[in-house]
């Protein structure tokens, strides 16, 4: 029998809400789940819960974290920073695995994948392997997509649309900006803009398990992923790519069958 229990953990990034999926026997490794951003997180939550349970049944101790200012954790998103998010993840690892007796796998979904990689890059000793689900590879391009939601909303309302450049200027001037129901602060956006998977030298040698949805016929890799893949392999990383045909669950308002994604992820040799 596995156990699933919610806990508020006191961390360097405030009280963070965490869900603990614990195996029946002493765990074979620790998996820390870092979720996606905004609505993507909400849409992926149920599938991540299922994955956490499956990991626990395979003997892993999995902890899913709500980052500062998101989900049920303390703080406001407008006050969140990338550095605070990273500090929260590291605090949780320090708390549950202080002696580093357990291998630690950082499992990041979408923007959480970029954050996981950045934590591993900053604190290489805190991460033995990365599991990335459709990770964001370039923070700036991703935030532009997020900010475009505001532009599209203004267009649909018939209001004068701002450009993403103007939104960034407003953020840089200290304004908070509401995008898709979430109030963003300038510091977080500016920090995310700077983060790129192609610029993480300390990932050298880490095992990466990269699960990606294929939208092109025949399952061809995206050019974006191919570029990052080449960079990581050239840096000496063992990169395992899993191309699967599954719906874009981070965009879906309703649940879809993700059994292939769950089964393929559970079967990965993470530890």
């Amino acid at each position: 029998m596995i156990s699933v229990s919610p806990k508020f953990m006191a961390t360097d990034a405030g009280q963070l809400f965490t869900l603990h999926f614990q195996p029946q026997h002493p765990p074979r490794a620790l998996i820390i789940h870092i979720p996606a951003y905004g609505e993507e997180m909400n849409r992926m939550r149920h599938i991540c819960l299922q994955q956490g349970e499956m990991f626990a049944r395979e003997g892993y101790y999995c902890i899913s974290i709500d980052l500062y200012g998101t989900g049920d954790s303390s703080g406001e998103l407008a006050d969140a920073t990338w550095a605070v998010w990273k500090a929260g993840v590291i605090s949780v690892i320090n708390s549950v695995n202080p002696q580093r007796n357990l291998k630690t796998i950082l499992w990041g979904t979408r923007l959480g994948g970029l954050l996981a990689a950045d934590v591993a890059n900053s604190e290489p000793d805190d991460c033995d392997a990365l599991l990335l689900w459709q990770p964001v590879t370039a923070g700036r391009a991703y935030m532009t997509q997020v900010l475009r939601q505001r532009v599209a909303k203004l267009v649909d309302r018939g209001e004068k649309p701002e450009t993403t450049k103007e939104i960034r200027e407003n953020l840089a001037a200290g304004q908070n900006v509401e995008v898709g129901g979430y109030v963003l602060g300038g510091k977080l956006v500016a920090e995310i803009d700077q983060v790129e998977l192609l610029n993480m030298p300390a990932l050298k040698g880490k095992a990466l398990h990269w699960v990606e949805r294929s939208i092109t016929a025949g399952g061809a890799a995206t050019l974006a992923r191919t570029r990052v893949d080449e960079y990581l392999r050239a840096s000496g990383n063992a990169v395992e790519i899993v191309e699967l045909d599954f719906p874009p669950l981070w965009e879906l308002p309703r649940r879809a069958d993700m059994s292939q994604l769950l089964a393929s992820t559970t079967a990965l040799p993470l530890a």
Binding site: T144, V151, A152, T222, L223, R227, V228
Partner: protein, 83 residues
């Protein structure tokens, strides 16, 4: 079929939730105004998908009505991003 047109069709059909075998698409197939569901959210979805597929960033200034005239104009845009 050129790779860029094939990719444009894949991305646009996914964004409009069209089943490819049900529609016969060429470079001349019109886009904006031809599909009732084609709106600003569709444009956002197409632009995001192109960025994710190519690993590029598309500036606001590049998003013009002409770009979304037909499947062929989107394919030509993808070509310009690949070069």
């Amino acid at each position: 079929m050129p790779q860029s047109l094939s990719l444009a069709i894949e991305i646009i059909c996914a964004s409009l939730q069209l089943s490819r075998p049900e529609v016969d698409i060429t470079a001349n197939t019109p886009l904006m105004g031809a599909f009732p569901d084609f709106n600003s959210l569709t444009i956002m979805s197409i632009v995001n998908a192109i960025e994710e597929q190519l690993g590029c960033e598309i500036e606001d200034e590049e998003l013009t009505a002409e770009l979304f005239e037909s499947f062929g104009t989107v394919a030509a845009f993808i070509d310009s991003k690949l070069s």
